[in-house]
Symmetry: C2
Subunit: 431 residues, 2 copies
């Protein structure tokens, strides 16, 4: 299959943040074949997509989320973390079945595609059902089974969650034409004993899997770590050898300067979740310092129950706004930097040299944004517009692996009515 994007205002997201006016981009099968001036014979039999008054850019990569939590959207807000978690979220999650997780994932995938996300990095449970939703929908994802245990070990060979995690990894890593990637996810240092984290880390090393973990999200986590382990959460994981593996550490709100050095030394990626960190009152992560260190930063929405949506354009906007305000410096996290966190940096976090940039040979994970809207006019600077004016609802096309999954309100691979019918049934049962 071939597609020719004609006359696109193209934000490439390459190193130089090139913005190319009125160029053509040719997609062949799952890859970007050519851009710029393309020979007519190359375009033969290509389906043409008119991109007049539209921005073409790489699809967004949601760096940390729990997609099935869309089922809990707007269910519990404006309350203390403990009340939220123990009185609302956990009891509701206890009632979820694998099938519920499938439909919740499908709902989230529809929202993500419609707002420009073509890949997401997730940690949850009933992972076979999540993977099935990713496979069916055509989106791309890194998936991991979140694991919690305070067992002391040392033998975790009979641990149910870890065995589930290994089975899942072996079954699904590289599946769906490579759209599904696996990872090992010790949930956090306050939900996993050091021995358990070590066992997960060793298993991950054995199977060549990367790590996805929550790190230093709240002040309580930070203080408890100092009390219990005599060191910061980051140092604790460093000493456990977790960071010797390719790691995505979500949140990192309370990390200090020494932690930043450790994370940089081990090339850990930090997933910044500004919306969730604000809403749950976790705080404001020291992202400008992290950026100065050269650490790879990606952006995530976290789950829809602490956000309350999966719209990455909102996170881009928040990331470009809050650090300026909190640090009284208007030069911090400019529009281009925030956009990189949501695109090319996500590719790096996944160890992929072919995601997040519009470039020959890269994966055809692309989105089109309609800028013929009142709120995008005048369009003085497209990069500024993407960070400061454009809404997720301006996305009019999402392509993954060279396949159009969403176009002008229509989902090509998902039966929207069926998903919504099932969501309603699930909510009637659970709430």
């Amino acid at each position: 299959m071939k597609y020719l994007f004609k006359n696109a205002l193209t934000v490439t997201m390459d190193q130089e943040m090139k913005v190319l006016k009125n160029i053509d981009v040719l997609v062949e099968n799952d890859r970007i074949k050519a851009l710029g001036s393309i020979k007519p014979e190359e375009c033969e039999n290509a389906v043409e997509i008119d991109c007049t008054k539209k921005i073409l850019m790489p699809g967004l990569i949601n760096g940390h989320t729990h997609v099935p939590m869309t089922l809990l959207r707007n269910y519990a807000d404006d309350m203390n973390l403990q009340t939220w978690l123990f009185d609302y979220i956990f009891p509701a999650e206890d009632k979820l079945t694998g099938e519920d997780v499938y439909w919740g994932t499908m709902l989230g995938i529809m929202e993500m595609l419609a707002t420009g996300t073509t890949c997401f990095i997730d940690m949850y449970f009933y992972m076979d059902h999540m993977a099935k939703a990713v496979e069916d929908s055509g989106i791309r994802a890194q998936l991991s089974r979140g694991m919690t245990s305070n067992e002391k070990g040392p033998d975790f060979s009979q641990n149910k969650s870890l065995n589930e995690c290994i089975d899942f990894y072996l079954k699904w890593n590289g599946a769906a034409d490579g759209r599904i990637m696996g990872a090992f996810a010790p949930h956090a240092i306050y939900t996993c004993s050091p021995e358990y984290i070590r066992a997960i880390r060793d298993a991950a090393e054995k199977y060549g899997a990367p790590i996805h973990i929550h790190l230093d999200e709240t002040r309580v986590e930070h203080q408890d770590s100092l009390k219990n382990f005599g060191k910061t959460p980051a140092k604790h994981l460093y000493d456990l050898g977790v960071f010797d593996l390719k790691t995505i550490a979500a949140h990192c709100v309370w990390i200090d300067d020494e932690d930043i050095e450790l994370l940089k030394e081990k090339d850990v990626t930090i997933a910044h979740n500004p919306g969730s960190n604000l809403k749950l009152a976790s705080g404001i992560a020291p992202i400008p310092k992290v950026m100065d260190s050269g650490i790879n930063i990606i952006l995530g929405t976290d789950g829809a129950s602490s956000n309350n949506n999966l719209d990455m354009f909102e996170e881009i906007n928040l990331a470009s706004l809050i650090h300026k305000g909190a640090n009284l410096d208007p030069l911090l996290i400019n529009a281009g930097e925030a956009l990189k966190m949501a695109t090319v940096n996500g590719g790096k976090a996944l160890g992929r040299e072919d995601l997040g940039v519009i470039k020959e040979g890269f994966k055809a994970d692309l989105i089109l944004i309609d800028v013929d809207k009142v709120h995008s006019k005048p369009l003085h600077n497209p990069v500024s517009a993407l960070a400061y004016s454009i809404k997720g609802s301006d996305v009019c096309l999402a392509m993954v692996d060279g396949r159009i999954l969403y176009e002008n309100g229509e989902f090509k691979t998902i039966d929207k009515e069926k998903v919504l019918y099932n969501i309603e049934k699930i909510c009637d049962r659970i709430f």
Copy 2:
């Protein structure tokens, strides 16, 4: 003219934050005539509007903006305040004509109506042209000529701006069926001498006009005031007698506890502009403390060049997020409180007992929001959804004074193509 909103999920924005399911709301001429169970004979000849799967709520009131600055949207971002203002904004504004301001206002009004704003509070120049745009479009606004002068006085009877301000007030206050309200706007303490502020204040008192002013927006303004006047900006205006008149003070980022007491004593309304304050790195206003004091707080977008849009749903979202995160308290500024800042509190700020609530006798300034969208499902709590999930683009109808101005992408009183044609011409000329 009569309209019957049928089966609406109605967020009334009254004191108790009542959410009414499947009720009918009858509008007759410019007012809400009845809600709840309405006698069939009352509804005779009413145009029915089906509100299934829609939220009906009061139109949003943008508490502080400079609407013609839509012309400068995405033109200058991610730079120091001085560079932004003196190298980009002021030189561009110097080239504006009255006609440019008319078309820039029209562009902004389109954006506001399409995102649910039915009234705005503005300070700019070429006010006759702005007023004409408000009159033509059918929206509601409080308008004021922003005044700057470092003249020492005492005689300002020949001052051009002040005379323009007075003429404008006499001509336009109460015009367009009362949709236009006037105010007097000394720009700020750092652009107006104390004598000039005093002269404006006295003229406002003479004509019975309220005040709209920027107050304590930046740390520099705060420190300069301490240096130049030996007191805070708020105390400076208090001593000049400004607050003896009905006042809207925009920003108030750097006010201290004593300032809060002064502002409360004088019943000043504070216009909180979270997006602009973050983007320009002014800081985070102490809104939770202000709220505890009982001061009336409204929300504003500020101009589109420091935001970069006029979408009040984004400000509601920011107001409900940033104070939680900055103060590490998830109970601060809940969804309902943020929504009040954008509706009923705006009515109070304007001295209107008939704006910002869905209630018999109130003005029919109403919006409909489509919640049959993927990102609004499941709709566990409509009030949370309005603050945390819903986008401005979900607005499908905006009514002002009982007249539908926007419906499903169509502007009823504005020739969209003509506005966009003129915007393009202006931008070609200026930039």
